[in-house]
Symmetry: C2
Subunit: 279 residues, 2 copies
């Protein structure tokens, strides 16, 4: 039997098609994106609902990124292959899936794409924002920000975040450098976005190492608090040594903002101000 | 033994003082403010921690308002009487309590006030905001907004909300009119505040009946969706009949914003835009 065909109950052969979905989720309740044995994950919740929607066909989805436990996504991309659903037409997949999913996972779009599309391997770039609340501790920001009320050196911070721009060996800023053949990545843009007491660190790059954004955010916090200068960040980066990284920022402040594919423009991705995730 | 004194272990008599606290909480996880037998409430969580902080003295707090299950507070006021803590000085009560409390309940201030202060009976007015998300369903707004993507008649809405201003019998807009000797309340100000797809209904009044804001918000939604006009709201109000109320808006969109006491000014209370609860 060819891999791309499946035999239904009445032996009717239905071709498989490739879907591309964009998802938003509040990661607070999940052990990250990727299916695992010791906790509920976003991937498994979505796969279970897709299976139901497509007439109990087991469906495995490929995510663009493996977000960690507690990390949020505004626009994670996922691809999967499925036959026609016995219940709903293709154009209703988004709506039907949103009815089945819990409120903390939302499908923003779902469309049929050429069969060579793969959410992970076709990705050309990604953007992330790491959020900090520099004001009073607030029950409504604790899910979405790291609280750090002594962060006052915003000018130095704006200089320090520029250090990461360009092509660098990011060994200092990952926890698993030994797992990569090549720990060099390219950061295309970095910015500081603020709104009232909320401060966001924006990163746009062609790829990121494991825990790289949270490691960069952890180091930047020392700059914001006046304990390090931009020059120290440069020195840490050049050391290519994980032991030089000061801290890994906690998961709840991290948002995977967008994943870019062939033909997508980098322009206009920068959020104008927090809390950008709400609108 | 006089009521205002208590005997400690070594029979030393410590006088009771009156504290005034301002609290913010995300109401999602709680069965409202008031202590009850069948669910966890904000009042009981705070009382338990206060008891611990003041050397196992049982402390009963008086809240300014009894918010319902799932309703949020930005500035609920609570008063209580307590002796000096064996562990901490008075000026550390806020900080010590925040260390003991879960992250979804935060103490914004705690101070000693004259003994005749009572958070409920001394209140001169309150403000509320009811939030609606008129854009895409979003995992980050579902906890704090009613989602209603066909709300397009904002001009009519701005006219309709004015109908509530002034002194009226609000029998149509409460579920327990029979429990009140006098169902007349005075609304001092109403506004529509918007930011992107987020729309807030602001109400400032000297007092509110049970479920009054959610009943007014429920009726206003019909206006926003083009199904009722401002004149219909006026007619509903004048009917003084609960059966005329169309809908009660769900709890998660409601925020108790502020409680006013002698000497507090109504000015500058209006939030300039949502999501005002984050900053």
């Amino acid at each position: 039997m060819p891999q791309d065909l499946e035999i239904t109950e009445n032996s009717e052969i239905k071709p498989l098609r490739t879907f591309k979905m964009i998802l938003s989720y509040d990661g607070t309740a999940y052990h990250g994106w990727q299916r695992q044995n010791n906790g509920i994950t976003v991937q498994e919740v979505v796969e279970d609902k897709l299976c139901r929607l497509f007439g109990n066909t087991p469906i495995r989805i490929q995510g663009s990124s493996r977000t960690d436990a507690g990390v949020h996504a505004l626009g994670l991309c996922a691809s999967f292959r499925a036959p026609e659903s016995p219940y709903i037409p293709d154009w209703k997949v988004k709506k039907a899936l949103n009815r089945l999913l819990p409120e903390d996972i939302r499908i923003r779009s779902a469309e049929i794409v050429p069969d060579d599309f793969n959410a992970r391997f076709s990705a050309k770039g990604k953007s992330y924002v790491y959020m900090v609340n520099t004001g009073d501790n607030n029950p409504f920001t604790n899910r979405y920000c790291w609280h750090m009320d002594d962060m006052t050196c915003l000018d130095e911070l704006a200089e320090a975040i520029q250090v990461f721009k360009g092509k660098h060996d990011f060994t200092t800023f990952t926890v698993e450098a030994h797992k990569y053949d090549d720990p060099v990545r390219e950061i295309l843009d970095t910015r500081i976005v603020t709104f009232g007491p909320l401060v966001g660190f924006y990163f746009l790059g062609t790829g990121f190492l494991y825990k790289m954004v949270r490691s960069m955010a952890g180091a930047l916090m020392f700059v914001g608090r006046g304990r390090l200068k931009a020059a120290d960040i440069k020195e840490m980066l050049e050391a290519k040594n994980r032991l030089r990284c000061k801290d890994t920022a906690p998961a709840q402040g991290l948002f995977l903002k967008r994943v870019f594919y062939e033909g997508d423009s980098w322009e206009n991705d920068l959020p104008d101000r927090p809390p950008f995730w709400m609108y």
